[in-house]
């Protein structure tokens, strides 16, 4: 596939990179506060209770803190959404970006289930990450299928 065929609009590059940086910042903060809960600045009364979520049994999956999984996701996502990665001629870079966004969204849905149904609390910062992930998915579903030749371009 030629370079021009992998092009996407500039707004998509700028938006996904910005969203990835936001997600990276939030997940970094959540990772820090996972290990230092006293550093968490968040209401702890009622339904919104960040500490109850970040220190819950569901804050680990297979022994790995969810915060670290989130941080790892956004480190990779930031790299894949960087302007340099968007310019990559390697098709797998663009496929990996799109697949990772879908996997991340599925994981976010599990976390929302855990917060609402199991823990009975929600965490504001986690919700910020969830919204960021959803926004990334929307942008990528708008541009990636056409970029990868899976759908007709909007301009065609």
């Amino acid at each position: 596939m030629s370079e021009s065929e992998l092009r996407v609009p500039h707004w998509a590059v700028a938006t996904t990179f910005t969203l990835s940086l936001i997600g990276l910042a939030l997940s970094t903060y959540l990772t820090i506060t996972h290990f230092e809960p006293q550093a968490l600045v968040c209401t702890d009364n009622g339904f919104i209770n960040c500490a109850a979520v970040t220190t819950s049994a569901q804050s680990h999956i297979l022994g790995i803190p969810v915060a670290i999984l989130g941080l790892g996701n956004y480190v990779v996502m930031t790299a894949l959404n960087s302007p340099w990665a968007w310019r990559s001629k390697h098709r797998w870079v663009h496929e990996a970006r799109f697949i990772l966004a879908i996997v991340a969204m599925c994981f976010v849905l599990w976390l929302i289930y855990a917060e609402l149904i199991i823990i009975n609390n929600i965490c504001l910062y986690c919700t910020g990450v969830h919204i960021t992930t959803f926004a990334l998915l929307i942008v990528l579903t708008l541009v990636s299928p056409a970029q990868l030749g899976w759908s007709r371009s909007r301009a065609s």
Binding site: S2, E3, S4, E5, R7, F35, P37, D44, N49, A51, A52, T55, S56, A57, S59, H60, G63, I102, M105, L109, I112, Y113, L116, I117, I119, N120, N121, F134, L137, I138, T141, L142, S144, P145, A146, Q147, G149, W150, S151, R152, S153, R154, A155, S156
Partner: protein, 312 residues
């Protein structure tokens, strides 16, 4: 395709791949639709199922599982000695010594005056939850427990549902020590929903002890705002614990049975934290009992802890 071509580096939209297949935006609609449906379903389930499930209260006292009781109180000496005070994952604080204070004593079941260990905490408190594991183990080396119950810390607090035990009906029998406990609050809110339901009321003497000793003057690192915090343990007015000796996060993600089952495994990070704290507390208790019983107090794990605490 020459890369230096401006035209080719910024192809016109009409030059973009106009492949056949699904219309543009279909993926977006599918993704948004699925996410919205799933989240809406979760919200509906949440709203229609009401609030959080009620956690067990002391009014429905649940005795400790006999298997867990055995695992908790018959830890092999080799585990205590192998762990010593080595807890590579979780930092563990030893009890702090105080000097020149009047001895805290009580009369045991045989009528003898022996050192008293006073615990003050609450069932909702996750720090108390972590502390109880090590305190029960340490005291089990000097006597026998009965009446311990299962408990979890409050579900909406930090470190929610930390698995632990309650002292609410506990009895401790020892020729060396007397153990007294106060669980001031349950792990659920009162009917007004303003604070935890009241459970046990400390005596005036117990209030005087926590008011005097759970202060920055006696506890290094304690701030004025943290004065009289729980858990508070007074070991005969010679050693004090204020706050958990190790972080409750150490127990996060593990069930009561899993924690208890790992206590015979000296390489478990959770066991390392609990046993290190137990060895420290045992060293403090040995000071109170004049190193009785000898097989416990002279063991290498306890001696290592005593040395680290500066106990002679």
């Amino acid at each position: 395709m020459p890369k230096s071509s401006r035209h080719q580096r910024r192809p016109a939209p009409s030059k973009a791949p106009a492949k056949g297949g699904r219309p543009a935006g279909l993926f977006t609609w599918i993704a948004v639709g699925l996410v919205v449906v799933v989240v809406a379903a979760l919200v509906i389930i949440k709203v229609t199922s009401g609030g959080p499930a009620k956690t067990p209260s002391s009014s429905t006292f649940q005795p400790i599982n006999p298997g867990v009781m055995t695992e908790l109180t018959t830890i092999p000496a080799s585990v205590f000695n192998t762990v010593g005070i080595t807890s590579p994952i979780a930092a563990v604080d030893p009890p702090q010594s105080v000097s020149k204070q009047p001895a805290l004593v009580a009369t045991n079941s045989a009528g003898a005056s022996v050192p008293e260990v006073l615990y003050m905490g609450a069932e909702y408190c996750p720090y108390c939850a972590a502390q109880r594991w090590a305190t029960i183990i340490a005291l089990s080396r000097f006597g026998t427990w009965s009446g311990l119950g299962n408990m979890s810390s409050y579900s909406n607090d930090v470190y929610p549902n930390t698995p632990t035990f309650t002292f609410i009906k506990a009895k401790y029998k020892s020729q060396y020590l007397v153990f007294k406990s106060v669980e001031e609050y349950t792990n659920y809110l009162d009917t007004a929903g303003t604070y935890y339901a009241k459970l046990q009321t400390p005596t005036s003497g117990e209030v005087a002890l926590i008011s005097k000793y759970d202060q920055p003057k006696y506890i290094k690192g304690l701030t004025a705002a943290e004065a009289e915090s729980i858990p508070f343990i007074d070991y005969g007015n010679q050693f004090l614990v204020a706050g958990a000796s190790y972080s409750p996060s150490t127990l996060t993600g593990s069930s009561r049975n899993e924690i208890a089952g790992a206590l015979s495994n000296a390489s478990s990070p959770i066991t390392d934290a609990i046993i290190t704290s137990a060895n420290y507390q045992t060293a403090a208790l040995c000071k109170l009992t004049n190193n009785q019983p000898g097989d416990v107090c002279m063991s290498s794990g306890v001696q290592t802890a005593a040395k680290a605490m500066g106990i002679k």
